[in-house]
């Protein structure tokens, strides 16, 4: 089961690789809790998820994952400053409304933040736009009219936002269907994971 999670979500493996044994983790938009469950089973991580969907709340509970029902766009008021080793936002950034505020909340609550998101600058996306259409792919599976994704960005855009928010990037892992990407990441990478913290 664990292997299948990693296969279906390569960003999970990148995220897990940054998290030491026994860390505390807050997973924002945790879905059915599979990342937290994976981290608990492999890394002995103590964690909580935040999720808004009723169905996913019930599934997290069935999975034995701590989950707090909350709307990320209303902030993380229930969580204290620097109360987690890592705050994770996997494949959710692009669907948040108050993205800038949420970034600040992540580095307030977490000693470090980890975010993974689809790279809008991926060449296949660019190609579809050149052909005159909004990109639709396995990673961006929605049509423009029914997408929850309101804040798509490229790697360069994300890095600029971090700079603007005085957030320092500690690590970056870029991937595409064939594996890790080192050369021309903003063009060749379909998904990226970043590790970062508030600059002091």
């Amino acid at each position: 089961m664990n292997t299948s999670i990693i296969e279906s979500r390569p960003d999970f493996a990148a995220i897990a690789a940054w998290i030491p044994q026994g860390s505390s983790v807050l997973d924002l938009g945790c879905g059915d809790g599979s990342l937290l469950r994976y981290l608990r089973e492999t890394q002995n991580v103590r964690g909580y998820g935040v999720e808004i969907s009723d169905k996913k709340i019930a599934t997290c509970i069935a999975n034995g994952v701590n989950v707090i029902q909350n709307d990320l766009d209303s902030g993380l008021a229930d969580f204290e400053d620097q109360s987690f080793d890592f705050v994770i936002l996997s494949q959710t950034l692009q669907a948040t409304r108050h993205t800038e505020a949420l970034m600040n909340e992540i580095v307030r609550v977490g000693r470090e933040g980890i975010i993974s998101f689809p790279n809008f600058g991926y060449w296949k996306n660019r190609l579809q736009i050149m052909q005159g259409h909004m990109p639709v792919s396995k990673i961006l599976p929605y049509e423009w009219y029914d997408t929850p994704n309101v804040h798509l960005c490229t790697l360069n855009d994300f890095e600029l936002l971090c700079k603007h928010l005085n957030i320092g990037i500690l690590g970056r892992h870029v991937m595409n269907e064939s594996g890790d990407v080192n050369l021309l990441p903003n063009l060749r990478g379909s998904v990226a994971a970043y590790r970062f913290k508030r600059e002091v």
């Binding site: 019930a58 034995g64 707090i68 229930d78």
Partner: protein, 377 residues
């Protein structure tokens, strides 16, 4: 398939050891009515205690052989195959001290005077209840509950258990509850109490000796309370501005459907419930405030809690609003306790916790299935 626990019977436990109350009074002996469903396993690890709210009692599930229509107040939640699955768990319901369903309360006979306790019955707190319930657990040989479940005032008892006896509770399911009442809630309770206290038939709580019952006061108290347990939307949906006769009669008899409903509920309640019990229960609600001992810091009040928590609130519950449940969650997060929180969308106000709802029941079922795994049943 889920079903009923079937025919059940109440039992009476007698405790001869004196019980000290928070108010300073002492009961030399007391009795608690209780019912159990399911089977206690060999290592006695599968017990669940269900704590009742203001007007509840020990008859939580099933029905009686001689009164089959008398179905337990949480029968939709508890039974074989139901979220609180009696095929797996041994479930205990009891009537709290001060109650009026057979446990020692104001309408019981004080063995010292030979008369009903009435006004001399001790003011009872949530902490007192928890102490009295612990003795029932001892009697049944249960050291550690798999879970303690309660809604509203029942949730307060479940939380208090985890504070007073941290090693005796594996899981707390705190539903539609709060870490203490809001000012507005205390105010509602006080109006309800005043309805009773100012009823000429109340006789300072010793109405039993006068052969009367302060029905008018109790009825008003219940009508007020009932309004606050519902939501505006739920009442509008159920009754709207519907008129019984279809037209205005320009009088004070029942005209609107909602009046008919409320008066009926008030009459029904006043016919069986004890006015002194109502007063005691509302005071227990008002007094509950575990953070009163920790400079109003709830996180510190929870510092010794070991239990895992499931906290559930309902969107339309304005007496015990979701924000109040979040306070509980926040204090548990501060203490790094395992906690899950579900905010169920429901129209039925505070009463939602007694209603069948797909999401609510899925959350309860899934959580308790994990508890069953934890205690290996």
């Amino acid at each position: 398939m889920s079903g009923s626990v079937g025919i059940v019977s109440a039992q009476r436990a007698t405790f001869e050891e004196p019980l000290n109350f928070s108010c300073g009074k002492v009961l030399p002996r007391y009795e608690l009515m209780y019912e159990t469903y399911g089977t206690l396993n060999a290592d006695k690890s599968n017990a669940i205690l269900v704590c009742h709210a203001l007007s509840g009692h020990h008859h939580v599930a099933g029905s009686y052989a001689d009164d089959e229509k008398n179905i337990g107040w949480w029968d939709n939640m508890i039974g074989p195959g139901k979220p609180v699955d009696t095929n797996k768990f041994f479930v205990i319901g009891l009537n709290n001290l001060g109650g009026c369903h057979g446990s020692t309360g104001p309408s019981s006979i004080d063995p010292v005077t030979g008369k009903q306790y009435g006004s001399s019955f001790p003011m009872v707190t949530v902490e007192d209840w928890v102490h009295s319930q612990a003795r029932l657990a001892d009697l049944l040989g249960i050291h550690r509950f798999a879970a303690i479940i309660g809604g509203s005032l029942g949730g307060m008892q479940a939380m208090q258990w985890a504070i007073t006896y941290p090693d005796r509770v594996r899981n707390v399911l705190a539903i539609a509850t709060a870490p203490h009442l809001t000012t507005e809630n205390i105010a509602f309770n006080d109006v309800a109490r005043n309805a009773i206290l100012t009823d000429p038939d109340f006789h300072n709580g010793d109405f039993y000796q006068h052969g009367v019952v302060p029905t008018r006061g109790l009825r008003l108290a219940r009508m007020l309370g009932h309004i606050t347990y519902l939501s505006d939307d739920a009442m509008a949906g159920k009754f709207g501005r519907g008129l019984r006769s279809g037209e205005y009669k320009y009088g004070y008899d029942i005209e609107f459907e909602v009046e008919s409903y409320l008066r009926y509920q008030g009459d029904k309640f006043a016919a069986y419930f004890d006015a002194n019990t109502y007063l005691l229960m509302t005071k227990a609600l008002d007094y509950f405030d575990p953070a009163q001992h920790t400079e109003h810091n709830l996180a510190r009040a929870f510092s010794n809690v070991q239990a895992n928590y499931l906290v559930v609130s309902f969107s339309s519950d304005w007496r015990f609003s979701p924000d109040r449940s979040r306070e509980i969650v926040k204090a548990l997060l501060h203490n790094k306790r395992n906690v899950s929180y579900a905010e169920v969308t429901s129209q039925h106000g505070h009463d939602s916790f007694l209603m069948q709802d797909e999401q609510y029941f899925a959350v309860m079922r899934n959580y308790l299935e994990r508890v069953a795994v934890e205690v290996q049943v």
